[in-house]
């Protein structure tokens, strides 16, 4: 079945939810790509997202992989255009108009009001993902890795991509079936 229209629709919709960061759209992304359209499984979604954290550039490039799985090369391109097109257009319009809004008192209100909501959305996305990561018998180990990474990042200035890579090494060492 041709998935291209569905890919375009889903990712254009998801892009509008990424206020504050890509993770904000994660709960909805799980619902649509896993439950509704069954393009991939929840563990696969988690894996792709996590691997994507090691890639350079904007951190949601894993959407390209979903597009490729569901619709080949065309699917990947459609997903990219759908996910980045609408928000790019919006940012462009705002870039043009923002200076004029400088005196508009609600501008600050919108920025101040959206800050806690966007952080909350990130956290909600994180919890959705954590539920998937920490299911099963190894939840203590995975939990320890997550907390470890959090503490290291809060305390030291270290490139997060390196820690995600270290997670891979720890994963091989601790989760290989004996």
């Amino acid at each position: 079945m041709n998935q291209i229209p569905a890919l375009a629709r889903v990712f254009a919709y998801l892009s509008l939810l990424t206020v504050g960061g890509g993770m904000a759209a994660f709960p909805e992304m799980k619902e649509l790509t896993v439950e509704v359209h069954k393009w991939l499984t929840f563990p696969q979604l988690i894996h792709l997202y996590s691997v994507g954290q090691m890639a350079p550039g904007p951190n949601m490039m894993m959407i390209v992989s979903i597009g490729e799985w569901a619709g080949g090369m065309l699917g990947a391109i459609v997903v990219l255009l759908a996910f980045f097109g609408p928000t790019a257009l919006l940012a462009f319009i705002v870039a043009r108009g923002w200076k004029k809004l400088e005196k508009w008192p609600w501008r600050t209100s919108i920025q101040q009001g959206l800050a806690p909501v966007s952080i909350g959305l990130l956290l909600a996305g994180c919890f959705t993902m954590a539920k998937g990561v920490m299911s099963g018998p190894t939840h203590l180990e995975t939990g320890a890795i997550a907390v470890g990474v959090l503490l290291i990042l809060l305390k030291y200035k270290i490139n997060p991509a390196l820690l995600v890579l270290a997670g891979a090494v720890i994963g091989v060492l601790s989760f290989m079936p004996k």
């Binding site: 959305l121 959705t128 995975t142 809060l154 820690l163």
Partner: protein
């Protein structure tokens, strides 16, 4: 932010570079380099390249653009590309900037996704990915903590944050309804107070 503002204030107004002669090719190349090298988060690389190396935007402008990027839908990285590209060369500047910053990661994830689909069920890959996913959760949490320290003011902001999490994860209201509902509530709470103008009618 105050530090940055102070620093920019110290710089002479003449420090603004002659951005009129930045070519479309230069913009594309610069964002392509950022897109290919920005491991572990784009923002520091953007600052290093656009502010420190190229002087295309100054520090104050960078912080301003970043805060706009954060309150708009869309990723910080791509919104910044649009804003900076627009400033330098209008619509075409925006277009080449966003293509440049996305291209390397997109090609990489295309290849990675392809191999993962074929080899993803090998035991050692599954084991590695479990560790990677756990580390990614820690990374997102650190982003949440960092953003909270920077942009949450007062205990009511924490209430709005908690409400958002509850609405999505417990009440399953979905991201759009939560965003609109709690968003409007929070914006109204931060309604423009007329602190600077005296004698203004409420």
């Amino acid at each position: 932010m105050n530090d940055n503002a102070a620093k920019t204030a110290l710089q002479t107004a003449g420090a603004a570079p002659a951005i009129a002669d930045v070519s479309i090719g230069q913009i594309f190349l610069e964002f392509l380099i950022i897109g290919a090298t920005s491991f572990g988060g784009v923002v520091p690389y953007l600052r290093g390249s656009l502010v420190t190396k190229r002087h295309w935007v100054d520090d104050k402008e960078f912080v301003e653009m970043l805060s706009i990027s954060q309150s708009l839908p869309g990723l910080n990285a791509t919104n910044m590309a649009i804003l900076v590209g627009e400033k330098l060369r209008g619509a075409l500047g925006s277009l080449v900037a966003i293509i440049g910053i996305c291209l390397p990661g997109a090609v990489l994830m295309y290849i990675v996704g392809h191999f993962y689909r074929i080899h993803g069920d090998h035991v050692w890959i599954t084991a590695a990915l479990k560790g990677v996913a756990a580390a990614a959760v820690g990374l997102i949490l650190s982003t949440v903590v960092g953003l909270s320290e920077k942009s949450l003011a007062g205990k009511f902001d924490f209430v709005f944050m908690a409400l958002t999490v509850l609405a999505v994860n417990r009440l399953h209201l979905g991201v759009p309804r939560t965003l609109i509902g709690v968003g409007i509530l929070a914006i109204l709470f931060h309604y423009p107070r007329k602190e600077k103008k005296e004698g203004a009618a409420q």
